[in-house]
């Protein structure tokens, strides 16, 4: 008994941490559970009642069964990939300028990068809506893409900047000292070393874009370019199809598998390094 109390005194913070992580996981577990439920009606998709729970594979076997659900998913992926590509390029260029050059206007650039992150999404949504209405730009894929690139840029800059700042500036000098032209030095030395940061930024941008609802809600207008979050929101009145839970669960499992695989890879690599040195 004494040893138990001593163990608890030692480990209670860690235990509390795991309890809190458990709390973060609860809604995910519920979604997983509900993905195997056949709700009595579409309006009870999000009712957790063990007495009326009826097990089914249907939501998984007929995952595209609800009208428009998989189309919206495809749109979200398409918007996400496009926005990620543009935002990653633009953001990476900015971070290179900020970290590797000293120039007039550097401070204001930093502020401009920070501002979108400090502005509530609803304000960005309403202001973009005002802009598009004023210019009479038809809402749809283009306006959604513009908005997503806009709010992703800052996050890309911050992520790539952190990686770039950790890079030894002598590496570029060393490359140029060893007969590499500035372009070769960039391609052979700088880019490969910053790449992990750029990849991280791209993943972040994709997840931001893919999951965005608040801003998208403003810039979709009356168009039928419904992204996945917009699909869920729009189904609210008619009732949400239970397939949404299957898709959300699949999304979770796929992302989780990716992250764990990445972790295992770095762990294996560092283990190998430790073994050989």
């Amino acid at each position: 008994m004494r040893t138990f109390w001593r163990w608890l005194a030692e480990k209670w913070v860690l235990l509390l941490g795991f309890v809190l992580l458990g709390y973060l996981f609860v809604p995910i577990a519920v979604v997983m559970l509900l993905s195997f439920n056949q709700p009595a009606s579409r309006n009870t998709t999000y009712v957790l009642d063990f007495e009326t729970f009826s097990f089914t594979w249907h939501n998984w076997t007929d995952i595209c069964g609800a009208a428009g659900i998989c189309e919206s998913l495809t749109r979200s992926i398409y918007v996400g990939l496009s926005a990620t590509l543009i935002a990653t390029i633009l953001g990476t260029l900015i971070s290179f300028a900020l970290v590797r050059y000293r120039f007039f206007g550097r401070g204001s650039t930093n502020t401009l990068i920070f501002l979108p992150m400090a502005t509530p999404e609803i304000v960005m949504g309403t202001s973009l809506l005002t802009l598009f209405l004023g210019l009479q730009i038809p809402m749809g894929f283009l306006t959604i893409l513009i908005a997503h690139v806009m709010f992703c840029i800052s996050f890309v800059v911050v992520t790539v900047k952190a990686r770039l700042a950790g890079l030894d500036p002598r590496l570029q000098e060393a490359a140029m000292d060893l007969y590499a032209t500035p372009w070769q030095a960039f391609c052979l030395v700088i880019l490969p070393l910053v790449l992990p940061g750029i990849v991280a930024a791209a993943l972040l941008a994709f997840s931001l874009s893919f999951d965005d609802f608040i801003i998208t809600n403003f810039v979709t207008g009356t168009s039928d370019y419904t992204t996945f979050p917009m699909f869920i929101w729009g189904s609210n009145l008619r009732g949400i199809p239970p397939q949404v839970n299957a898709i959300a669960t699949a999304m979770f499992l796929i992302s989780f598998a990716f992250v764990i695989a990445g972790q295992l890879r770095t762990r294996r690599r560092s283990a190998r390094r430790a073994a050989t040195s």
Binding site: L20, I89, L131
Partner: protein
Amino acid sequence: MAALLPTASGTPAAATEIPVEPPAGMRRRRWIPYALLAPGLLWLGVFFVFPVFQLAMASLWDPSGSIETGYTFAWSFSNYADAWEMFHVQFLRSLWYALITTVICVALGYPLAYAIAIKGGRWKNLMLVGVIAPFFTSYLVRTYSWKAILSDSGPVVDFLKWLHILPPDGRLLATEFAVIAGLVYNFLPFMVLPLYASLDKLDVRLLEAARDLYHGPVRSFFRVTLPLSMPGVLAGTLLTFIPAAGDYVNAQLLGGPNTQMIGSVIQSRFLVVNDYPIASALSVMLMLTILVLVMIYVRVFGTEEVV
């Protein structure tokens, strides 16, 4: 929003602010940084700065106009008075909910970040994955899931009724409790990640030295650990407070008429009622309030590591 992973959050400033002079061969061309900045800044200028400016203009439109007849600019500051008159309850409620959410997030997030950074050991990476795990599913789905958990026939309500904490006809949905619970859940990771980043940088030897000096874990925590992790607390509070104040998803899905937040009002004024001047005035008010609060907050806590 899967914003601000550890690398991106509390840590950036200090380390990144030392610009590096490029070698002589490259420095001659002074236009290069501007060429690198141009496309991205242009995008932000046209689609962020300019629209916000336009929004401010729209908030001063003559309110007698409509979508069909068009609006005229008229320095109608009365829009602000009208907006305040009609919606100050929702406005103040939003700030209040955001404040409570932030306080609860600090209370829950600090122990979690501390557990990961200081006590995590070999669990560290796995626990970090756990923190960002909610981002792996959709924001709306997560919030709907809370709706299921807190639903009238759900396990939480049943349990509270069994304990007689909740009366037999009591419910959680459509109450303040449900909205704040949703906000706390959705923004907790934004608190934990910057906190983790600043706690992880702490030198463990420093903590040991503090234990030596101050005798006892409690005092050394308040004298050393907490002050040194303030940049993380600061970044975390901003990252929680700002989105929480503007959110309307939680209020809409988990709340009722008495828990409406300003985001819902702006949303419906814009998209349903089409009352642009009032909706714009509310947006500008929200933005300015948050900006001023952030500035005061940063000034008081005196940390420049936020940006």
